[in-house]
């Protein structure tokens, strides 16, 4: 397509770069379209209108200012939990435990607020909550990295097991010693001081978690793509033996990557508690961590691409209620759609380097 007219070295590398970029953009988009087609066929088989379905996603997720706010409130934790998949993925690890890190870190933030609320100014309470959540989240996923490095424990399985453990620990506390006696209907911790809550971004009416997610995504993109650390991480992810031979400490890289990812997921938990729910309860376990896996895969683990993809899935999530009411579909419809997208996306991996349109050159076939 962008075939160089003269075989200049610079021109050719730009052409290759363009090939690569266009391919990594077009193939996921094709996968999304294919998933939409599959899901439409499925809806037609159920005697539902696919047109109405996608129209409602457009309206419920992106149609009005209010739906955009709803979408962005959901996109914020999705960006952060997707980063928890993307950063370890650069080191070659498939970590799917962001949900657990979010839940346990959010709970830790709510728990630390209980004794602090009376004794120190609200601003410091917020700060302590944020710090606690980040540290707990980082250690939670850092443990996954350590187990992988030190004991060869498969990180995919261990991180998902830790998610179930996190949920059990949180249930143990919120229905036991830390349960708020004033709230008999639903087990939850005491509400945090309203003054210690995180506010909204002025003019946008979306909490600051969105800004934190976007800034972190950009920073981590720079870290992974523009620094020696990121370069070393990618070598370790591509081939650990080569990395070892280069004198890189693969273990350190893996644990650091998991640490960073876990910190992001922990931050998501902090904002869910301190900006949305105001307490820790079972609403923390809202599948953001699992949707984040799909977001990161769809963004090809590129932190910058995660931002728009998170908005897309935030919008689909925001439209869920509308679809449920208008089309009389169960609430698992969104979950099923995500599953279809995920499977189609992974099947599309096989297209890389094979689309005739791109005529891949030798260099682009890595």
């Amino acid at each position: 397509m962008v075939a160089p007219s003269k075989p200049g070295k610079w021109r050719r590398s730009v052409g290759t770069w363009l090939h690569y970029r266009a391919e990594t953009f077009i193939i996921p988009v094709l996968a999304l379209l294919a998933a939409a087609v599959f899901f439409s066929i499925f809806l037609i088989a159920l005697d539902k209108s696919p047109g109405e379905f996608f129209f409602l996603i457009g309206r419920g997720g992106f149609g009005t200012l209010f739906s955009w706010q709803n979408t962005l409130v959901r996109a914020a934790p999705l960006i952060l939990t997707a980063l928890c998949v993307a950063i370890p993925a650069r080191m070659g690890l498939i970590v799917i435990g962001g949900e657990g890190a979010l839940v346990i870190a959010g709970f830790a933030a709510a728990a630390i607020a209980i004794p602090l609320d009376q004794s120190i100014p609200p601003m410091f309470t917020t700060l302590a909550m944020g710090l606690t959540a980040v540290i707990v989240g980082a250690c939670w996923i850092g443990l996954v990295g350590w187990m992988r490095h030190a004991r060869g424990v498969n990180e995919t399985i261990s991180s998902l097991l830790l998610t179930y453990i996190a949920i059990a620990i949180v249930n143990f506390f919120i229905s036991g010693v830390l349960r708020n006696p004033a709230d008999p209907n639903r087990p939850s911790t005491k509400p945090i001081n309203p003054d210690a809550m995180v506010g909204v971004i002025p003019g946008l009416h979306v909490h600051w978690g969105l800004a934190a997610g976007v800034v972190l995504a950009v920073l981590l993109y720079l870290l992974m793509d523009r620094t020696t650390f990121g370069f070393a991480a990618r070598i370790a992810g591509g081939n650990p033996r080569v990395a070892e031979a280069q004198g890189l400490s693969v273990g350190k890289l893996i644990v650091t990557g998991c640490f960073i990812g876990g910190a992001c997921a922990g931050l998501a938990g902090f904002f869910e508690v301190a900006a949305v729910h105001g307490r820790a309860n079972s609403a923390l376990h809202a599948n953001y961590g699992f949707t984040g896996i799909l977001v990161s895969f769809l963004a090809r683990h590129n932190p910058l691409a995660i931002i728009p993809v998170a908005c897309l899935f935030g919008g689909i999530g925001a439209a869920g209620g509308l679809i449920q009411r208008r089309m009389d579909l169960p609430d698992a419809t969104v979950l099923l759609l995500q599953g279809v997208v995920f499977v189609t996306l992974l099947a599309s991996e096989t297209l890389y380097g094979r689309l005739p349109f791109f005529r891949p050159t030798q260099e682009s076939r890595t």
Binding site: M147, L162, T163, I165, N171, G176, V340, F342
Partner: protein
Amino acid sequence: MSDLWDAIALVLIALVGGVVRVSTPFLFVSLGECLTEKSGRINLGLEGTLVLGAMSGYATSYLTGSPWLGIAAAALTGMVFGGFHAVLCQLPRVNDIAVGIALIQLGTGAAFFFGKPFIQPTAPHMPLMALGWWSSDPQLQNALMINPLFPVGIALALFLRWAFRNTYWGLIVRTTGDSEPAARDLGVSINGVRLAATSIGGLLAGIGGAFLSLSYPGSWNEGLSSGQGLMAVALVIFARWDPVRCFYAAVLFGAAGAIGPALQSVGVTQGYYFFNAAPYILTLLLMVASGRSKRAARDIPRELAITR
């Protein structure tokens, strides 16, 4: 003093019954995963298969009135779902672990989507075998009401070990899992073997799922299998890819899962959620303890991407 002994005896009896009940789904999923991994692929999607099998088994049993048809439907669903994993993975450049994660999401999504109308109604359960006839103790009799799938699972574990060691098909599966070039030299279709192994593995996981909804806990709801399929995958690693050791491991996991309910039966309700977490913590500890072991390194199918 005798009160304490009575309580301990009661807990032990409840534990025996609990182990049989809790370990059966682990046993079936782990045998399915064992077969799949022996052929050189890992299917994390068995967690999704388990949930989907539980839902389809329950729905079929409710609609037809026959739990056996429910089991058959779950087995068929599991087989199709397993086959789907195999077909996706034989595409070049497609990662089997990632496909497994996607199939967990697709399977649970589909199960929740179609299972909504079946959460309330009660479907006929599988009949149990009363193996406690020789005892006059009602508690013991109750504990020994055993689902026929449990002995079937034991027989299957023995059969699989024998088949891996002594039959042509066992050799083919093992060769495919250990070395693709060697399998190709034998003139074996690698994708065909893996399709068969993953499909049968899915079939077994589907039956495990039907056990969850049709025997114990015995109803369909969205929290039915939280990670049991995944623990079964970890269990296969711990069992070092041997079907009979899978059985021992399943019993161990069953015991970990049965402690909480057994203690509850004598009135110990403290730490209920903690005991809920016991099987997960046990899995994790076993994985940490058995990681990097020399024997695991010897027994692992060489083509398996799980321990690089």
